[in-house]
Symmetry: C2
Subunit: 339 residues, 2 copies
């Protein structure tokens, strides 16, 4: 029997998670919730998805000739899990509704950690989410950080992480967000929220991050410095990265920008040019005894999609072990197999 | 008697250095060399500067109705020092000419270090440039790095510096340079040339820098991590920064972007909105025992201007001590007095 999934919100994350759910052999996408009949709704219609909305908004959809399958309550009656992909802090306002229908829910990183029982990353703490009712998939930057931290932690205890994050200012479709010029400290006073968010998943890690926002839409770029408890070799680090799921190594001699990377993903047929992996520049890896530094890209629109899929499997106990869920997710999404 | 100065090249750096020379009580700007009668030449004419050019280009200027005072050789005959502000690696091709006229020259950071006897920063190694014939003022990013390193070194020996540099992609007038989208690793393999360039001035410093290029024209932003030989206090660090020439502290509560910073400089009447100082965000300063981190902005068009002025004083021995030259330069340019 398949787990029945609904997706509340069909924006940047919601639509991608919905499409990814349709590719899972053990899940069924029952439908999505949209509050407004905008252009993204039209793409959902074209893809044949069942659309639900709020009772008071149904007329607006009908006026546009868009067929509505029912209310959000109707959808909740028909699913086992709701993935909440509403805008940041809006998810929390829906939680009571999910509770009243006794439905499990997966929230996004835009929510406060308190919305859920556990903040989630598939590589780091899948087990903690098993059977839970409410989990929160941490944001794109935090997901990117956690994967790399997990890979490096395989080499021994991490004493300290320091990170610099160059954040993309907006997604392509966010036509009102800026800046289009300048570099913005986000914030000026460290740590940026990313370090704090990592600590919602790995509680005792000494991590400080600085972040700036830069005028680009394509991807974030992180440079991290690790101090480890022991000296490691360059090969060990590269092996640890290469052998960790959802981390892809590229050579800076081949390409050295987020622009070329996203264009390559488009050329190779990745849907919307999406990149689910952390893309680590192999030649950026620098090892000096117990110090490791490296640089990687995070495609903000896509990186949390596989994590959402695994979160569904964890809370519904479709798979008891992270590696079993990750294997299915990564095979269905083509992760690490496009390059 | 004033030192007579010529400036070869009237682009981003050359024009600013030329204007700054006119403000010095102990210097005289004899003239500038332009090879093409472009719009920047018109601004030089308007400012009443004497324009020299290559013999073969004189007709082009006359055709535009621009009065030429002579050839570059005529200018060399009339000056004590030539500031070479020609494009990167072009300065080296002029060196023979300067030599043949036995003229001292100040080169820019776009030249290889070998062009000069010493790579220069006023705070760090003014004394090494005293009486030399050829010095090279290191580039904007390197100048920014060296000032901060100098300030922190006043607290004790620096064991290690790690830096992340978000570089502006182009200056406002560079209409053919990009990118306008994406983040480019520059390079992917560390260290970026900035660390190497720091080492041309401070030879034994353990420094590694990572750099990316981002689509902005306003300023670079650096985040540095220092490991010191002893634990220091937060106040000690702020004091060291505040008491170092050419370092300005701003509060992120007041402004937190390069865009606001440059706009403020324009509002307060800085010529072209230029910022000669390293602008350190005071709330970015983080101290953990022997570890210090901080973030600052570097206005790429302006930061080397005071360094060029001091370099002229050092090689001509107008002043024997760095602080005496810096005092005059900073007073005439209004450094640290606009905010």
């Amino acid at each position: 029997m398949k787990v029945r999934v609904g997706v509340n919100g069909y924006g940047t994350i919601g639509k991608r998670v919905a499409w990814a759910v349709t590719l899972q052999p053990d899940m069924e996408l029952v439908g999505i919730v949209k509050t407004k009949p905008n252009w993204e709704t039209l793409s959902a219609v074209k893809r044949g998805l069942r659309i639900y909305t709020l009772k008071e908004n149904m007329r607006e959809f009908h006026a546009r000739g868009i067929e509505i399958h029912g209310t959000i309550e109707d959808l909740l009656n028909s699913v086992d899990v709701m993935v909440d992909a509403t805008p940041g802090d809006v998810g929390a306002t829906y939680k009571k509704l999910y509770e009243s229908f006794s439905r499990k829910a997966v929230f996004q990183g835009g929510e406060e950690p308190e919305v859920a029982e556990v903040s989630f990353n598939a590589l780091v703490n899948y087990g903690e989410a098993l059977g839970k009712n409410y989990v929160r998939v941490v944001s794109c930057n935090t997901t990117g950080l956690l994967r790399i931290i997990h890979a490096i932690s395989r080499l021994g205890r991490i004493k300290r992480v320091r990170g610099f994050i160059a954040r993309r200012a907006a997604d392509l479709k966010e036509i009102k967000k800026g800046p289009i010029e300048g570099i913005i400290l986000d914030p000026s006073k460290p740590p940026s929220h990313h370090a704090l968010d990592v600590n919602t998943v790995i509680k005792d890690l000494d991590i400080i991050t600085y972040a700036v926002v830069v005028p680009t839409t394509l991807a974030h770029v992180h440079t991290l410095q690790f101090m480890l408890e022991r000296a490691v070799s360059h090969d060990e680090v590269l092996d640890a990265l290469a052998n960790t799921p959802r981390i892809l190594l590229v050579d800076g001699g081949l390409l050295k920008s987020t622009a070329e990377l996203r264009e390559l993903a488009r050329d190779l047929g990745r849907p919307q040019g999406d990149i689910y992996e952390n893309v680590v520049w192999s030649d950026s890896v620098l090892v000096r005894g117990d110090e490791v530094m490296l640089t990687y890209a995070v495609h903000q629109e896509a990186i949390v999609v596989p994590e959402n899929i695994d979160a569904i499997r964890a809370i519904t106990r479709l798979k008891e072990r992270a590696e079993d869920s990750i294997k299915i997710t990564d095979e269905t999404l083509g992760i690490k197999r496009w390059l």
